[in-house]
């Protein structure tokens, strides 16, 4: 029985490695650890004897564990969706309506703003949060459609440091909602504009065109 469970663990690891689903679970820099573990499985399976005294009755956790792993080997996973963000706080760069902010760390980027990814935009905004600095700049990014707690439309992506457990969402507001289902991946082009709300001012993307895309091979931003 022990070897059967080990075999199924091996099958599960092989399946997610082969289909590329491994990228949905952990950061790519840890892939080699999984491949190495997978390479160890044959040694664990083939070498040494087992004691007949190893009682399945006392280790009955192995049965549901095995069943779960078998089904996980069959099941087609998809990347994290907006649901995973439900109970978590989200950092939205928002500044007071009456005050012009100027960060001392802010700088002018001379390259084409259309080259920036969603993560680049969020990073730059964390250095210089003043929305007016970006007004009128052209944007070309991809992500999935997301609506925040206040039902504001966004284009979003998850950032991963280690594994899916630490995934946190980043995103850019859209000035108008799109006729798309939440969690659909799309590529979007448009111009940035400043939107005022009762809580302050924030940047939003005025979409000029968008097209649906398939879920990327690595759907998360990995740092």
């Amino acid at each position: 029985m022990i070897r059967v469970v080990l075999f199924i663990v091996g099958i599960f690891l092989a399946k997610i490695s082969w289909t590329g689903e491994l990228a949905y679970f952990i950061h790519p820099r840890h892939f080699w650890l999984i491949y190495a573990s997978l390479a160890c499985m044959p040694f664990l399976l083939l070498f040494g004897k087992d004691s007949s005294k190893y009682s399945l009755k006392k280790n009955f956790l192995l049965i549901p564990t095995t069943a779960l792993l078998i089904l996980a080997s069959i099941f087609q996973f998809s990347p994290l969706t907006s649901f995973a963000q439900k109970n978590k706080p989200m950092m939205v760069p928002q500044v007071p309506a009456s005050e012009y902010l100027r960060s001392r760390r802010a700088t002018h980027f001379s390259f084409d703003t259309k080259q920036r990814t969603l993560f680049d935009w969020v990073t730059i905004q964390s250095f210089d949060p003043e929305p007016l600095s970006y007004q009128g700049q052209e944007v070309h990014i991809q992500g999935f459609y997301y609506k925040d707690d206040e039902n504001r439309p966004m284009i979003a992506q998850y950032v991963l440091n280690c594994c899916a457990a630490d995934a946190r969402i980043i995103g850019m507001f859209l000035s108008e909602p799109l006729d798309e289902a939440v969690n659909t991946w799309f590529e979007v082009e448009g111009v940035l504009e400043v939107v005022s709300s009762e809580n302050g001012r924030y940047l939003a993307l005025n979409v000029s065109q968008h097209k649906n895309i398939s879920t990327p091979e690595n759907p998360y931003v990995t740092r």
């Binding site: 022990i2 070897r3 469970v5 080990l6 663990v9 690891l13 997610i16 491994l22 949905y24 679970f25 952990i26 840890h30 650890l33 999984i34 190495a36 573990s37 160890c40 040694f43 664990l44 070498f47 040494g48 004897k49 087992d50 004691s51 005294k53 190893y54 009682s55 006392k58 280790n59 009955f60 956790l61 192995l62 549901p64 564990t65 069943a67 779960l68 089904l71 996980a72 069959i74 099941f75 996973f77 998809s78 990347p79 994290l80 969706t81 907006s82 649901f83 995973a84 439900k86 109970n87 978590k88 706080p89 440091n161 280690c162 594994c163 899916a164 457990a165 630490d166 995934a167 969690n183």
Partner: protein, 339 residues
């Protein structure tokens, strides 16, 4: 040990039923070819994310424990310790760096070292420090918190400090007041058996390498079982904990620390992979409470109490629990002040 066995079995039964429900849902979806709705998919991605990130460390831990089991003798370790008092405590606290066994594996080793005339206060220092101060745990914590190297340093220093303080305090109590009467030598006892699985002995007739692979296999699967339980709990809390409750807990740092200490005590997750488990709480709970979880968990949990009871009497054991818990709380509060 019998009571400990029942404790572990009660957890296992709860785990079994949760797993059965989860498995049934999966079977239904697979049978009818349905597409998983987002909540189930996200739950499974986080659940298996934690599990997959932990697998390599569980495997390395199992291989190392098996190696320690077949290659090291407690007599040798005891004879190599320095003579000076503080150095002796310090070197025992750092023994985990060369004997990287988790909190399940170090109890049988500590018992055998006591039987080879190691003072119980020294064995206690080893028991408290070794599950954290070992290379595997250091690496896994660094992997889980790559942006927080100082947090890893805090974890190591806190564990070292608590182990030294508690161990050196207990050096003033005579051994007969600390130890259980029947501390007998079980030479066949293998790592992992003592946790929840009494009676799984490795026959002496097996060759050394047969024993090595057998211990590795058993260790790996037993740890996987416990880790899956932890992952189940972590992913459920992360996705389904009401935001209001989380905010309430987070608003009070000491409450968050106490809650995470309680969680560490209940989930009894192996120190090799507890950082991945804690990671899922890092977005909601303050880092000081995550530190409390990572410091207390490897020293004390439901699974460790019966194992420690096989060495210490009830009274000293309760003092150990009180001391370790208070010091972990104190260290976490200090972290929140200075970080």
């Amino acid at each position: 040990m019998k009571r400990g066995y029942y404790y572990c079995n009660s957890i296992a039964i709860v785990f079994f039923f949760i797993f059965c429900i989860l498995t049934s849902i999966l079977v239904l979806y697979c049978m009818f070819g349905l597409i998983f709705p987002s909540p189930i998919n996200d739950f499974l991605v986080i659940f298996f994310g934690i599990f997959i990130a932990g697998i390599p460390f569980i495997l390395i831990g199992a291989l190392l424990s098996a190696l320690v089991e077949i290659a090291l003798s407690p007599e040798k370790i005891v004879s190599l310790l320095p003579k000076q008092r503080f150095l002796k405590f310090f070197s025992v606290a750092l023994l985990g760096l060369v004997l990287p066994v988790c909190e399940c594996g170090n109890v049988p080793l500590a018992r055998r070292m006591i039987l080879k005339n190691m003072p119980p206060s020294l064995a206690l220092t080893f028991l408290l420090a070794a599950p954290v101060l070992n290379p595997l745990v250091i690496i896994s914590t660094l992997v889980a918190f790559p942006q927080e190297p100082m947090f890893v340093v805090w974890r190591l220093l806190a564990s070292l400090g608590i182990a030294l303080i508690v161990g050196m305090l207990f050096a003033y109590i005579p051994s007969p007041h600390l130890l259980v009467k029947k501390l007998q030598n079980h030479e066949d006892h293998v790592h992992g058996d003592s946790c929840c699985h009494e009676g799984n002995h490795v026959p002496k007739s097996f060759s050394r390498w047969s024993r090595f692979w057998m211990v590795t296999r058993k260790e790996f699967l037993e740890m996987c079982g416990i880790f899956l339980f932890g992952a189940l709990l972590a992913s459920s809390i992360q996705l389904f904990l009401p935001q209001g409750f989380a905010n309430q807990v987070v608003s009070s740092e000491w409450l968050a620390i106490l809650l995470m200490m309680l969680l560490a005590f209940i989930v009894s997750i192996c120190s090799n992979v507890d950082a991945f488990f804690a990671l899922s709480y890092a977005q909601v709970f303050p880092m000081s409470s995550i530190l409390a979880f990572l410091v207390l968990g490897p020293m004390l949990d439901i699974k460790a109490i019966p194992m420690l009871k096989s060495i210490f009497r009830w009274k000293p054991l309760l003092i150990i629990i009180a001391l370790v818990s208070s010091l972990s709380f104190l260290v976490s509060m200090l972290y929140s002040l200075f970080s």
